[in-house]
Amino acid sequence: MLYSASNAKLKVNGNEILASNASLSLGASLNPQYRIAGGSIRNTALYTPTNGIGGQLSFSYFITGKDYFKTFITGQGETGSMGEVISGNFGGLHFDSGYLTSYSANFGPNSSSMANVSISFFDQLNGVFSPTEEQAPDSTQILNLKSAIIEGEFASDAGGSVDNFIGGAYNYTSEVRPVYLMGETKPSAVAYGQKVVNMNFEIDSPTGYLPVSGTSARIKVSLLAEGDTSLSQTVEHFVCSGLIQQRNIASAAGDYIKHSINIVQNATFDSEVTITKMADSAGDYMILS
């Protein structure tokens, strides 16, 4: 029996995802058991599991508002918190021990904003595939980069002001290692490794300034609904505040000179904690700069 893409809903933690594509992989770790004598030196029909079963769910989806998955960037493993375990369901096949291992959002001029997520899970897929038939929701809003506001801060000694942001990407990766106790095939805990946020951005003002210690930079991409123009109307935002570790200047015949930078941020837990406004007893807001 074959099914159409419209027959399988993708749900993560019970929330339906408007994904343009999704892939689910599952693998077992098996080693062949060779013996030192007899006919099993070169051939064997015996296998032994060497690790728990596990898989990966990857999908791309449209950013339609506040992005649910972005909360996992600062919600996994910080200050002793194990964070929320991710459950996923694809057409009835489900798992309940998933962890966000990579997240990226792409920013192109006049393009719909899209994000890519990869979730690793450490158990088998349960359930049976059960097709659904449902019409697409109407009046869906997809945030477009036409209505984005990009703010950049660069070290004053970097030379040349950056006024234009042509396009870029926000990337997050996290190491997640399962911790198995004796007798477990499904881990009772995971250990989080290094978490890295980086932004690649094409900007104007080509310069070769890059000291041995890197140079600080911060880029914030604020996504707004169509027609909105004020930062206070921001629906979702992406920030990378770290060190420029790479510059790339390139051109080709018939093209303009492209200057791109790579900002790397290795601290994700303390970013973007700011108080932007306060209300007095009368309910009047005071905007803080």
Binding site: S6, E16, I17, P109, Q135, A136, P137
Partner: protein, 287 residues
Amino acid sequence: MATVFYDKAAVNVSFGDINETLLASNCSINLASPSQPMYAIGNKGPLGQFPAGARAGDMSFGFITSITGVYNAQKGNIINFLASGIKNSSNSEASGVQIKCAGITGYGFLNSYSFSVASNSVSTSSASFTFFGSGVQLPVSGFLYGETNETPSQTGLLATGVVHGRYTSLTPLRTTIASPTETANVFGADYSLSMAHSPVYKLGQEFPLTTFYTTAQESINVTEDIFDNALAFDETPKDVTLELKGLGNIGHGGMLIGVSGAKQQGTSMTAGLDDIIRTQKSLTAVY
């Protein structure tokens, strides 16, 4: 009133303080807002149609090749002046020109220009512009209305200022061969120039940040009566200056088109009933 007859729809091109109403015989304007459907797995039908790029437009028109104006001390029309200026420009950042027809105004970049000259015929030209818009400026603005007083201000010159094959010899395009020693008769020529413009878009803004002029290619297809079989593997580039003359321009200068580094890229001949054998050669120059 949206019903406009053609006599109230002149094509006017202006650039800086230069302004000319062309003798256009046709004109078309297009504006597009590209969108694409988005689909999500688990859902039948599209989520909707969403913007897939910036709005952009184009305008093309045909016109009688006129040499009634004087631009930069050279006789000709504004399109020829623009084409010459752009293709010989060392500046990559392009500036557009304003084109207006029947109340619709666009701010665009010349992307093609062509004309043809044939014996005993009035020469016709065509041009097309691409409208990208800029910053907050829309690619196309205005509304359809009939414009009066759009007749060319050089009406008195029209009788003699229209390029005609009778007085345009295009002698620099003639093929000559050494053995036997012969020089071709030129029956006609088709000239075309295409220019590539590349807009650069940035985040948070629909219309381009800037637009670069990148490359241009010019070709001339000449119809004559000599077949030159000595086409070289690496043809020697040559500079050619074409002079298009109007009816009253005997002995006077016409509109000049300078072609730099043109290489002959092909030659052919055709024979048909009740006609002489005509040959064609194509010259190509790049900028």
